[in-house]
């Protein structure tokens, strides 16, 4: 199998030495949506020794347009993204270790999850999770690369905590965006371009090169490109990456937690503490309120009140058909209980 990486080894900045370094590295990818899939495939084929990919979601038809690791069969059988990605990546490269984790990446568990990782990749679609990545990366002093895309454009920024500005240095609180994948859409080429910049920076770092300190913006449809050197924006008093960091996004919050899912007309609701839920007990309770129900080993799906619930066995629930967080909380309390 020595031929496998021959072309990459002929690329002078990597070479056989860099290739050998890659084999001993562990990359942790947060999110197995469009950016997560694209990064995971490139790094798997590049021969990164260990890849972990975590995602809270399952595969739907609307994912197939750009989430390259998934098939129609995966969507039809409601497979979790984590397990489908793991299977597909292992089939691409059996020489490396691949692990998929079907969980949410969140403050309480982030530090334990990323233990031992050399690099983190942002494959998420929301800033809440990105700020958790940002805090945990700063806490364990591991670099990561932010990537975001929308419509036909994308933005990428590598972050070396304590050395280059972190996300919190640049944005002091969660941005309220006016546009999302839901309202303005996204095309596959924008995903590929954004992920390519992310993976390239990751390969640089893993093979001993310096990553760029420029934030890059590119529009693959409008053929626009911009980059800004942001090294002067490091905040010496940053709550996330300075010497006196308090990692505010790693702090727990009490009560039900909710999250809007980008482009899905969906709210996720979950209890403060995850536990094991009996899906069969739940489905027997729900027989009184709905006759549209489907169940597999990992989740239970049912329709009620013009919305569709998908309940995972750890109690985490997706409510499709609403963007109203308060309404979603009420529905959760009404049909699942909290």
């Amino acid at each position: 199998m020595t031929e496998r990486y021959s072309r990459q080894e002929r690329f002078t900045p990597i070479g056989p030495g860099g290739q050998a370094q890659l084999a001993n590295k562990h990359v942790f990818i947060v999110g197995a949506g469009a950016l997560g899939c694209a990064n995971a495939e490139m790094l798997t084929r590049a021969g990164v020794g260990k890849i972990t990919i975590i995602d809270r979601d399952y595969i739907e038809w609307s994912n197939l347009g750009r989430q390259q690791l998934y098939t129609e069969n995966d969507a039809a059988s409601l497979k979790t993204k984590a397990s489908a990605a793991e299977q597909r990546l292992r089939a691409m490269n059996s020489e490396i270790k691949v692990q998929g984790i079907a969980q949410e990446f969140e403050a309480e568990t982030a530090e334990a999850l990323v233990d031992g990782a050399d690099f983190l990749i942002d494959g998420t679609d929301n800033f809440q999770t990105r700020f958790v990545i940002n805090d945990v990366a700063a806490k364990i002093k591991v670099p990561w690369v932010y990537g975001g895309c929308l419509k036909s454009y994308g933005i990428v920024l590598p972050i070396v905590p304590g050395t280059t500005p972190c996300l919190h240095c640049l944005i002091d609180h969660l941005p309220q965006e006016g546009s999302t994948c839901d309202t303005v859409g996204i095309i596959g080429p924008a995903v590929q371009m954004t992920a390519a910049y992310q993976s390239a920076e990751c390969l640089k770092f893993l093979t001993g090169h310096s990553m760029t300190v420029e934030m890059v913006y590119a529009d693959v449809w409008g053929r626009e490109y911009s980059s800004i050197n942001i090294s002067g924006l490091l905040n010496p008093e940053c709550p996330s990456c300075s010497r006196d960091a308090v990692f505010p996004y790693l702090k727990k919050e009490k009560g039900l937690k909710t999250a809007m899912l980008c482009g899905r007309n969906t709210v996720q609701v979950r209890p403060d503490q995850l536990s094991t839920l009996s899906l069969s007990d739940l489905s027997s309770h729900l027989e009184n309120v709905t006759d549209r129900m489907k169940e597999n080993a990992e989740l239970l799906m049912f329709h009620v009140e013009d919305v569709r619930f998908v309940v995972f066995k750890d109690g985490r629930t997706l409510i499709h058909g609403t963007e109203n967080v308060e309404e979603a909380k009420k529905l959760y309390q009404k049909y699942i209980g909290a």
Partner: protein, 67 residues
Amino acid sequence: MNILVNGRTLDFPNEKATIAELLESYQIQKKIAVVEHNKQIVKKTDYEHTKLADGDHVEIVHFVGGG
């Protein structure tokens, strides 16, 4: 006046425009963008009173949440 924004020439009708007005024309909120004006990063608090002139180079990179 003509301003070079992200490498593209823009004919901006307002001759006394500021960075804030330029961002507004792109519908970009100042809290989620980084702006470079003639190779210097402009602080958010200076957007309102940084005036643009003909031939200026501006780079705008704004944060995006999707993925």
